[in-house]
Structure formats: structure tokens, C-alpha cells
Amino acid sequence: MTRFLLFLALCLAAFGLSSCLDVVNIDVPEAKPLLAVDGHITDQGTPAFVSLSLTQAYFNDTPPPPVRGATLSLVDDQGNSDVLREVSPGQYLGSGSVRGRIGGQYTLTMVVDGQTYRAATEIRRTPRIDSISLEYKPKQTGYDEGYYALYNGPELPGVGDYYRFMVYKNGALFNQPDDLIVSSDELVDGRYIGGVELNDDPLVSGDRIKVEMLSIPRDYYYFLNEMTAQINNVGLFATSPANVRTNIINTQTGSDKTAVGYFAGYTVRADSVVVR
């Protein structure tokens, strides 16, 4: 709902009082690098995958340094275990002896540079996608003329479900900061989710829109939601920058060698449509 604050900032423009943004040079403090984790296990039958790197200075835009030679192991709630192998620098892939399944719980242990980190996650129930439909809209306030893809599918009764929607156009993920969309079912619990637009700019003939709906754990929803706030954080109603949460815990409490990022379990359901 904080997204509405962005709308409100737009209102100022109606008064001809558009504020101005410009890039400035500032000196930010130096920081020690920390372990950054980006990992997942899904219900799609593929082994768990984890990418390890180090944080770097905020204005350093070189590729993040990979963390090599870490020992990663994964266990689930049924006593299965797996060891993740480094398939390329900093990229670790499981053997498949632990598979993601709905209702499963997973704990990842990482030994990096003498420190042991742990991350726990789960895979939750998921609704289905009924269809992705198309709607033609004439030019009107907020829309350019053309086709828009719409999501249609049920939401499961019972509050406590969380989703991420990933939208691909012609195979490419919309992945600008404002394309990161997560939702909770608090306001839509058990309702039919019909006619929700998936693209901002109109589609043209031949365009293919694919959507992946991820059913995600509660804590991961908050991680992504906080991330959305931080990477789209500009304007009259912005908050001061603040760290997003993580589920990567250093087992030695009080250590300043903390970690950032997330190891998440989720389901994936997908559907697509092609504009004729």
C-alpha cells in the first residue's frame, strides 16, 4: 500500500510543482565486505542453487567478487541431505538428493572463511493460474492504446499466503527496480484475482507475455517487500535508507561478520499468452 505514496507524489506534478532529482557525488563511508547470499529451492524438481559473493562499496559497479571454496550443505525435514558443489566461481548447485516439495522445510548451512552461517526456509501451498488473457484498451488516463495482459486465478482461502509475480516479455524478465512485485493476501484473501494487468506499456502483435507466480514464505515476502521499498526509495514520502532483513544467520551470535541476502523456498506456477 505504500506504493500509493508514489501516486501522491505524482499529484504534486498536477500543481506544476514537479520536484527535481539530480545525481550528486557524495562520499560514503568505507565498509568491510560481508557475505551476500542469493539462493533458492523450488518445487520444480531442480536441485537447490546458491550464489555467494561479497558486498562491495556502494558506488563500486564492478561485478561482485564471488566467494569460492565454501562448504554448503542442505537438509530437509524428512532427514534427506545434500552437498552443494561449486559449479562455477561462487555458484553452488545441489546434487538433487534434497528436492523441493510443497510443505517441505529446508536448512542450508554454509561454512565460509571459518564462519558458519545458517538459513532456514520452507515451501508453502500454492494456488493455480487459470489463464492469462488479453484486453484492448483505447487511449485513456494512465494508459496508452493497445493490448494488456491480465492475470486470472483464484486465491486460496485463509490469510497468510504471499506471492511474487515475475513477468517476462518475449523471454526477457522485467527486472527494473519497480518491476519487483510482491503481494500478501491480507486484502484479497480467498477472492478471485481476475483482470490484474501485468504490463505497463501496451503489447504489439507477436509479443509473448509469460508470468511466473511464486508462492513464497512470509519472511521472504517481507524481505522482498523491504527490498522493493529500498530500491524504489525516492520522493517526498521516502524513508531514510535502511537495511532489508535477511535469513542468513551467523551461528556465532554477536559476530560482526554478518551476512546479507536470502535463501528462499517457493513454488513456481507459470502461464503465458501471445498477442495475435
Binding site: 500500500m1 505504500t2 500509493f4 505514496l5 501516486f7 501522491l8 505524482l10 499529484c11 504534486l12 498536477a14 510543482l17 520536484s19 527535481c20 532529482l21 539530480d22 545525481v23 550528486v24 557524495i26 560514503v28 563511508p29 565498509a31 560481508l34 551476500a36 559473493s53 558486498t55 562491495q56 556502494y58 563500486n60 559497479d61 561482485p64 488516463t141 494512465g142 524478465l173 527486472n175 527496480p177 519487483l180 491480507e186 486484502l187 484479497v188 480467498g190 477472492r191 483482470g195 490484474v196 517481507y222 517487500n225 527490498m227 529500498q230 530500491i231 526509495n233 525516492v234 517526498l236 514520502f237 524513508t239 531514510s240 535502511a242 537495511n243 532489508v244 532483513r245 546479507v260 541476502g261
Partner: protein
């Protein structure tokens, strides 16, 4: 904090025992003379009949005097005798009356404004030496003329923007809602409009305040030594009094500006017995949207309307009815709409029991609400929220003798809080109804306070306010558990019915101010007060938004307390032509609310899971120098201060700067009367940038660059300093004695040198090169803003 205070009071007490200054030595003690009589009545403006708040009555031969209260009533008890009584009000010619007082007398006096002296500007203070003579510390008064003198943003004279030029007052940024007083939050100011609290003081997200300057008579900001009659907020009292309306003749005034137009009409109901005023304004920038086909379905405007009537029922009784209604409306076709506003209504009854006992009874209602939604379609919903209060109070003033005035009374406020209610607008909407826990609460208060003078040199005002807050909400409530600084988990649900008290908080709030006159034109003053605040604005953004909700104290959210001491030196020069003061203050606060990282404060059923509580402290020095007379008038205000908090779970539990902490705040305000028709004015502001958090590192998560700060520190950086120069020129049309119409043009330039003042610093990926990260500066106005306004009166 308290120790130096007691030392100070002891010091002041010791001084009082030393011989009084020479100028007062011959004054007989009025209490020692024979039987006393009382002179009382109302002080009014001769031209308009407006009550003259704070006008003074003085008997020079005795060295005693009195001050008119908020309704213009005064009472002065004297020994029988023949006296020359002087009535004075800044901006009016003093009037002397020779009276034979053998019995108590009622004398209502009308004071005429001084001959329209060119560019004459009244700067604060009603009696010219009020600042030195009264026991008040940390008080600033403004009237509508001063508000209109200051060069205005887009030509809109503005109450809150003018207040921000006073010492001890600051803002988190241009266009931010409200104001911060002595290191306090925007919700820690008690803003009263004709006694009714105003819960959101802003139009247009904070660019303008909700008060129409044409309807405002007088405003008073109290930052320290707040009298026992007021409470409920930690930092300050902003007491805004609306005009009563001209009781002598019809008056119309208005203005046409580039943002809004204003019109106010005032007239007698029955001459000298009653009058009314109605005043309204509306912005009209959106009317131009109609000419643009892409924009024709959009709306963006604000308006406000105030009305007030008063009627004298007899020698002893007078009633006042006043109301305010304001709203901001935004609409983007059928995609989105949003509106918000305040409504207040006040009914007051003044009764004079006898020449020494004055009563005011008030019944009032105030409501702030907003609505937000998508009117149609499958994502249609309407979200509403409000805070409503109904209050009743009675205030008495007993003028015991010239050396003692008692104030006492009581009040009760009944609040209802509707933090959020969402309903779908059509059956196929994806949304369901969701209603957050509503709450009800009552705040009771009783107070007694005495203003007492011990000879001409030493006077005190001391009092006690007893308050009680009862949260009587019905519903299911939780305790919260978990690691501080992380989102907590609700546990131990407990369901209460309406008869149960969810939480009950009694408090005693002592207040004390003392003054010691060093000479006719200089004094030192000290004050201590304890303030308690039971309702809290939940706002996690840099500037408060119209969507922020007020939350009552609950089992988990405790009342906020503040203890403040102020010490000041006040000195006037050249027969009050110049006023100067230097004040230092220190303040300690507890139960201050802050938020976990990424807290979601809107439509959150477990809001208390994201709140953290801790200590606050603020201290500083304020210098104020004003020139009241002559062609050149104006003031300088400079504040050096610090405002910090320590909250377990934030910043490694160490002290950190508040988001509104500003080390230096400087304001220079000047006005120069070039001729009878032309006056020029200018303001200059400088302030240290506000505190913010900047990331020191980054990581990439699924192709998106996320900022991070090691150690999770907060407010580790300052945005660049703010400074701005504004200019204005006002040209009156030629005076025609036979014509009542008077017009004037005001041309102003805001942000003369077009500085891009930073409102905040933000961090993002470059749009075209996503791996590159950049810091961006947001400036609310990145340019020079000229404007022209035509004002008229007849």
C-alpha cells in the same frame, strides 16, 4: 536536568529578597491600602470591534497592571482612589482614562489604531514590553499582518511557514507537513484553532498550511513553560485565534494569487452586540487541467472554509460559534482518487460571574479523515481512516488581587480512532473488506495555576495539571515478543468488552515559570514543565504524510513524557524599539516511538509489532533580536541545538540524531517601508541538513542492486545544508479618502538564487546501466519561483 533548575529557582528566590530596583521603590503596596474595588471590562479595537488579546491596562501611580485574556476581558483590583489608567496595545494609540474608583466599575474600552503609518508593522508582543514583563519563556506571538509581511511561497501567506522563522522552530524539509519545536516531532505540537485541535496542519502534502490568513487574528506559540491550562503534547502549544468578525461595519477582503483565491466577509449581526465572519479559499491550478485533453479527467485542488459568529447576550454573557472545514482532493481519471481534510467546530460561552471571576465553557468536535481508492474496475476499493474527538471543558480565571490571578478548570476529550477500513467498490473486485481494530479513549484533565507577583521585580506562575488517559477499546489485543529491532510476533491474545479498560494512565504535570526584573527593560526568567502525550502520530517517512494515522496509548504504547527547563535573558532597548532574548533549554523525553527497518505503518493489523520505544533528549540555545519600530522592522533568529534518541533495537542501542535534528538554524526577516505605498521585505534562511542514513555497501540480489549499511547504523550522515533567500514588494494603490476600496499588489520571488536545496538523498540503480549505482538529491523546488498576488479590502 532538574538539578540546575532547582538551583536556578533558589537563585531567583534569593534575588527577590534583595531591594527592588529603584524605579519601583516608591510604589505603595496595593494590598496594604484600604478596601479594594475592581475595574473590569473588555478591550476592543475601535475600528473592527475585535477583542484585543493581550492588551494591557496599567496604573502608573501604583505600578500595577493587568492583561486582557483571549476574549479581551481584563480585571484589575485596586484600592479606592483616583487614578490615571492607561490602556495600551501595540499598533494602537495608548488611551488614558482618569477614573474615580469608589465602587467596582465595568469599563470596556475601544482602542483606535495609530494613524496609518507607512509600512508600520507590528512585531510580536501586545503590551510593548510584554516579553520582558511577563513570566512567559519560549513564547512567540504573531498576528496576521506579520504572516502577510513575510515573502510567501507562490504568494500564499502562510501561518506555519512563518512560524518556521522563529527561534527553536524548524522543519525536516521544504514542503514537509507541520513544524518541529525544540527537537520534538511534528505530532508533539498541540495546534488549536479556536480551541479545537487540528490533527493535520497541511494542504498539498505540506506546502501550505490549512489556516486561511484572512480568518486568523492572532497566534501564539509556546515552547517552554507551558501553563497548566494546556497539555496533551510534548513540545509546544500553537494557539490560533480566529477573527471575531467586524462588529462595526461590513468589511470584505480577499486576494487573487497564482495558486488560490481568497475571500472573507465580516459584518455586525447587531452593531456592537454581535458579528460574524466567513472566509474561504480555493486553489485553482487544476482548472487549467481542463484545457489539456490528456488531463481533463484529473482533479487536484484544495479548499478551506471558516465561519465564526459571536453574540453578546447581556453584560455578562457572550457566545461564540466557530467552524472550519478544509479538504484536499486529487483524482486521476478513474484510476485513483484521494482526499483528506480537517473539520472542527467550537461552541463557547463566556460568562462574567463578577468583576473578578471569568469563565469560558467550550464544547468542540474535531475530525481528520482521509479516503483513498480506485473507484471502479476489478481492483476497485475504498480505504478510509479518521481520528475524531469530542471535547468539553470549562476554564475559570479568578483575578484575586493585582498580585494574584488564579486559573483553574477541567476538560475531557473523547477520542475514536479508525486507523483503516478497506471495502471493495464492486462485487468483482479482487479486494475483500478489511477493518483494522478501532479504538476509543478518554483523556481527562484538571488544573490549577496561579500567577503571582512578589513586588514589581519578582513574579511566578506555577500550577499543576492532573491528567488521566483511559483506553476503553473493545476487541482482541496482543502482547508482542521477539528480538528488539526485528518484527515482533503477537502472542497472548486477550479479548475485551466495552466496559473493560484496556489501559489506564494517570499523570501529574507540574508547571512553573519565574521572572526576575533586573531593570525596567531587562529580566531573567526560568521555567520548568512536565508534559504528557497520550496520542501518537505513526509516521515512518522523512516528512509526515496525509495517510499517517494517530494511535492512542495502549497496553504496549505508553504515554510519552517530557521534562523541560528553560532559562532566558530578556532585554529591550530604546524604549522597546528593539527586543532581544537569549534562551537555553534542555529537555528529556521517554516512550519516544521509532520504527524497525522497513516498518509498514499503513493498514497493518500488527502495527505494534513494528514499533520500538526509547528515550529522547534535546538541548539548545536560541537568540532572538527584533526591531519593532521605524521604517525598517524585522527579526533575526538563531538556534543552536541537538535532538537525539536512544532506542533499544536501533543503531546498536546507541544514541543517534533524530531525523529532524538540525545543529544551526538561522532566519533573517526584514521589511522596509520605502514610501506610503511601497514596502519591501525579504527573508533569508540557513539550516544544517537533516540527518539521514546512507549505505556504505551494496549487494546484488537477482539482478537488482540492494543498498546496505554495515552495523545497521541509523542517521549516519547529513544532507547538504539548506539556504534560501526570498524577496517581496508590496505596492498599494493610491489612497482615495472617499473610496473604501483599497487594493495592493504583492510580487514575490521565492528561492531567489534558485538553489536546489536537498530534501533528501536517495540511492538507486542507474536506469540505463543497472549495475551502476548513484546517489540522487531530491529538491522540492529546484528553481526560482516568482509570483504575483492582488489583495483588496473594502
Amino acid at each position: 536536568m532538574k538539578q540546575p533548575f532547582f538551583l536556578l529557582v533558589g537563585l531567583a528566590g534569593g534575588l527577590a529578597l534583595t531591594p527592588a530596583p529603584a524605579s519601583a521603590q516608591n510604589s505603595p503596596n496595593p494590598r496594604a491600602a484600604g478596601p479594594n474595588v475592581t475595574l473590569s471590562g473588555y478591550l476592543k479595537d475601535a475600528a473592527t470591534g475585535e477583542a484585543l488579546i493581550g492588551a494591557s491596562v496599567f496604573v502608573k501611580s501604583l505600578g500595577v497592571g493587568a492583561t486582557a485574556n483571549e476574549y479581551g476581558f481584563y480585571s484589575l483590583t485596586l484600592p479606592k482612589g483616583r487614578y490615571v489608567v492607561t490602556y495600551t496595545y501595540v499598533g494602537s494609540a495608548p488611551r488614558e482614562e482618569t477614573l474615580d474608583l469608589t465602587t467596582s466599575q465595568t469599563l470596556s474600552v475601544k482602542l483606535a489604531a495609530k494613524g496609518v503609518e507607512t509600512g508600520e508593522v507590528v512585531v510580536t508582543g501586545r503590551a510593548p514590553d510584554q516579553n520582558v514583563r511577563s513570566t512567559e519563556t519560549g513564547v512567540a506571538r504573531l498576528d496576521a499582518r506579520q504572516v502577510k509581511m513575510v515573502p510567501a511561497l507562490l504568494g500564499e501567506a502562510d501561518v506555519v511557514r512563518t512560524i518556521q522563522l522563529l527561534p527553536g522552530v524548524s522543519t525536516v524539509g521544504e514542503g514537509a507537513t507541520g513544524f518541529n519545536v525544540r527537537g520534538g516531532g511534528v505530532d508533539q505540537n498541540l495546534i488549536l484553532m479556536d480551541e479545537a485541535p487540528v490533527y493535520n496542519s497541511s494542504h498539498l502534502f505540506g506546502l501550505f498550511s490549512v489556516f486561511n490568513p484572512d480568518a486568523v487574528k492572532d497566534l501564539k506559540l509556546v515552547k517552554g513553560g507551558i501553563p497548566a491550562a494546556y497539555g496533551g503534547r510534548l513540545s509546544s502549544l500553537l494557539d490560533i485565534r480566529m477573527k471575531d468578525g467586524n462588529s462595526q461595519r461590513l468589511g470584505v477582503n480577499g486576494g487573487v494569487g497564482i495558486v488560490s483565491s481568497r475571500l472573507a466577509v465580516e459584518a455586525p449581526i447587531v452593531k456592537d452586540k454581535g458579528s460574524f465572519i466567513v472566509a474561504g479559499r480555493r486553489s485553482y491550478a487544476d482548472l487549467f487541467l481542463k484545457f489539456n485533453p490528456d488531463q481533463k479527467d484529473n482533479q487536484a485542488y484544495f479548499y478551506d472554509f471558516s465561519a465564526k459568529a459571536n453574540y453578546t447576550l447581556g453584560e455578562r454573557d457572550r457566545v461564540y460559534l466557530s467552524g472550519y472545514f478544509g479538504r484536499d482532493v486529487f483524482k486521476f481519471g478513474d484510476l485513483f482518487e484521494n482526499s483528506w481534510g480537517n473539520k472542527t467546530g467550537t461552541l463557547r460561552w463566556n460568562h462574567v460571574f463578577n468583576s473578578r471571576l471569568f469563565m469560558n465553557v467550550t464544547a468542540l468536535a474535531s475530525r481528520y479523515d482521509y479516503g483513498l481508492g480506485v473507484p471502479t474496475g476489478t481492483q476497485g476499493f475504498e480505504w478510509t481512516s479518521n481520528i475524531t474527538d469530542y471535547s468539553a471543558k470549562a476554564d475559570f480565571e479568578f483575578f484575586r488581587n493585582p498580585n494574584s490571578t488564579l486559573h483553574f478548570g477541567g476538560s475531557s476529550i473523547f477520542y475514536t480512532f479508525e486507523p483503516g477500513h478497506v471495502v471493495p467498490t464492486q462485487a468483482t473486485s479482487i479486494f475483500r473488506e478489511l477493518r483494522l481494530q478501532q479504538q476509543q479513549a478518554t483523556e481527562w484533565a484538571a488544573y490549577l495555576d496561579e500567577e503571582r507577583s512578589f513586588g514589581p521585580a519578582f513574579s511566578v506562575q506555577y500550577g499543576l495539571r492532573a491528567t488521566m488517559f483511559e483506553n476503553t477499546s473493545a476487541g482482541t489485543f496482543y502482547d508482542y515478543t521477539g528480538e528488539l529491532g526485528k518484527q515482533l510476533s503477537p502472542v497472548n491474545p486477550q479479548t475485551y468488552g466495552r466496559s473493560h479498560r484496556l489501559a489506564s494512565y494517570p499523570n501529574l504535570e507540574p508547571r512553573l515559570s519565574a521572572r526576575y526584573a533586573l531593570s525596567e527593560s531587562g529580566s531573567i526568567k526560568a521555567s520548568y514543565h512536565r508534559m504528557v502525550q497520550y496520542i501518537h502520530l505513526i509516521s515512518n517517512t522523512t516528512a509526515a504524510t496525509p495517510l499517517d494515522v494517530w494511535l492512542p496509548s495502549t497496553r504496549n504504547v505508553r504515554p510519552e513524557h517530557a521534562d523541560q527547563v528553560t532559562l532566558g535573558y530578556f532585554r529591550n532597548f530604546q524604549h522597546n524599539a528593539y527586543e532581544a532574548s537569549l534562551e537555553v533549554f534542555g529537555k528529556k523525553m521517554d516512550n519516544q516511538i521509532d520504527y524497525i527497518n522497513g516498518a509498514n505503518t499503513l493498514l497493518n493489523q500488527n502495527l505494534e509489532a513494528e514499533l520500538l520505544y526509547g528515550r529522547g533528549r534535546a538541548y539548545g540555545a536560541e537568540l532572538y533580536v527584533k526591531k519593532n519600530e521605524g521604517r525598517f522592522t524585522g527579526w533575526l533568529s538563531y538556534t543552536l541545538s541537538r535532538s537525539e534518541r536512544q532506542i533499544d533495537g536501533i543503531n546498536q542501542n546507541k544514541w543517534y540524531a533524530n531525523k529532524y535534528d538540525k545543529t544551526h538554524v538561522l532566519a533573517l526577516v526584514g521589511s522596509y517601508a520605502v514610501s506610503d505605498r511601497l514596502s519591501l521585505s525579504s527573508t533569508f534562511n540557513y539550516s544544517t541538513g537533516v540527518a539521514t542514513t546512507v549505505p556504505d555497501s551494496r549487494f546484488v540480489y537477482q539482478g537488482l542492486v540492494v543498498p546496505n549499511v554495515n552495523g545497521d547504523v541509523r542517521n549516519n550522515y547529513r544532507v547538504p545544508a539548506y539556504h534560501r533567500l526570498d524577496l517581496a514588494a508590496t505596492l498599494k494603490n493610491k489612497l482615495h479618502p472617499e473610496r473604501r476600496w483599497q487594493g495592493s499588489w504583492t510580487f514575490s520571488i521565492y528561492n531567489v538564487y534558485g538553489r536546489r536545496n536537498a530534501f533528501g538523498l536517495y540511492f538507486r540503480q542507474n536506469e540505463d546501466h543497472p549495475t551502476q549505482t548513484e546517489a540522487v538529491r531530491l529538491s522540492i523546488f529546484g528553481t526560482v519561483l516568482p509570483s504575483a498576488t492582488y489583495n483588496f479590502t473594502f
